[in-house]
């Protein structure tokens, strides 16, 4: 019997921080970077 509600598969979210055990050094200043959609801020 078919279920009434089909659950959507969970969206795969890219990690916000690097994987592979990298330690991220942060600064309180606004550094500025560009993202793959061409947006820079």
């Amino acid at each position: 019997m078919e279920p009434d509600v089909v659950e959507e598969p969970e969206e795969i979210v890219e990690p916000a921080t690097p994987v592979a055990g990298l330690i991220r050094l942060e600064s309180s200043d606004d550094a500025g970077a560009c993202s793959p959609d061409g947006w820079c801020d």
Binding site: P18, L22, R24, D29, G32, A33, C34, P36, D37
Partner: protein, 228 residues
């Protein structure tokens, strides 16, 4: 510190950088990192490797539009906001010795520019090529999708122009570029410039010189405390 140059202390500090030649913050980050390396007491023991990253991989190959027009059209950014943003970045750039001429900068698909960088890398001219392409983009407003211009810039650095033309015509270094992009995805890089020091610490964005100095200090300290 003993001053020993054996083991890890004898190895260069390795800095891997993901960037794109149409990324204004990458140009700034490149300059600020260079300043930090120059100031660092062990700056001569640094090895930099550039990796390809594309801001607009879907941009039509061979085409070029003014970057300002691209921003206005693709992101709906008002001209006044673009100009204010550029003025702020130009000011930061000037402090780092860069001459941003945003009104002339052109948006292109940078795949071919990355081929030329990889060609330069094969001839030990990687950093010089990256720097030359940044200046061509942001100061001179050259079209970095034009094969003739890319070949001229390669020749300017002493590379064989004919080899550059052939590399571009044959879509050379495709595998290397794809490997760079794939590694960026593995690392979860969501923006550039992105710097990795000794495969251990990461710096994202055009950070202040102090943060790059700190990253260099930590990498050097590791050499004194960890065995080879």
């Amino acid at each position: 510190m003993t001053g020993s140059v054996f083991g890890r202390a004898a190895e260069p500090i390795l800095i891997d950088i993901w960037s794109d030649v149409v990324c204004p913050f990458c140009y700034l980050g490149h300059a600020v990192l260079a300043e930090a390396v120059e100031q660092h007491p062990h700056g001569s023991a640094v090895r930099i490797r550039y990796h390809s990253f594309q801001l607009n991989p879907g941009f039509a190959p061979g085409e070029a539009v003014l970057a300002d027009d691209y921003l206005a059209q693709s992101h709906g950014m008002p001209k006044a906001q673009i100009e204010a943003s550029h003025a702020q970045l130009a000011s930061r750039g000037a402090a780092a010795g860069l001459d941003y001429q945003f009104a002339k900068a052109q948006m292109v698909n940078t795949l071919d520019a990355h081929r030329v960088i990889h060609l330069a890398k094969a001839h030990g001219q990687e950093s010089a090529m990256v720097e030359r392409l940044f200046r061509a983009e942001f100061t001179e407003g050259l079209n970095l999708a034009d094969h003739g211009i890319l070949a001229d810039l390669a020749a300017e650095l002493g590379l064989d122009r004919a080899e550059a033309v052939q590399t571009l015509a044959n879509k050379g270094y495709e595998k290397d570029i794809r490997a760079d992009l794939s590694r960026a995805r593995e690392l979860g890089i969501s923006g550039v410039p992105f710097f990795v020091f000794d495969n251990k610490r990461a710096v994202s964005g055009a950070q202040p010189v102090e943060l790059f100095r700190r990253a260099l200090d930590l990498a050097w300290e590791d050499r004194q405390t960890q065995p080879a």
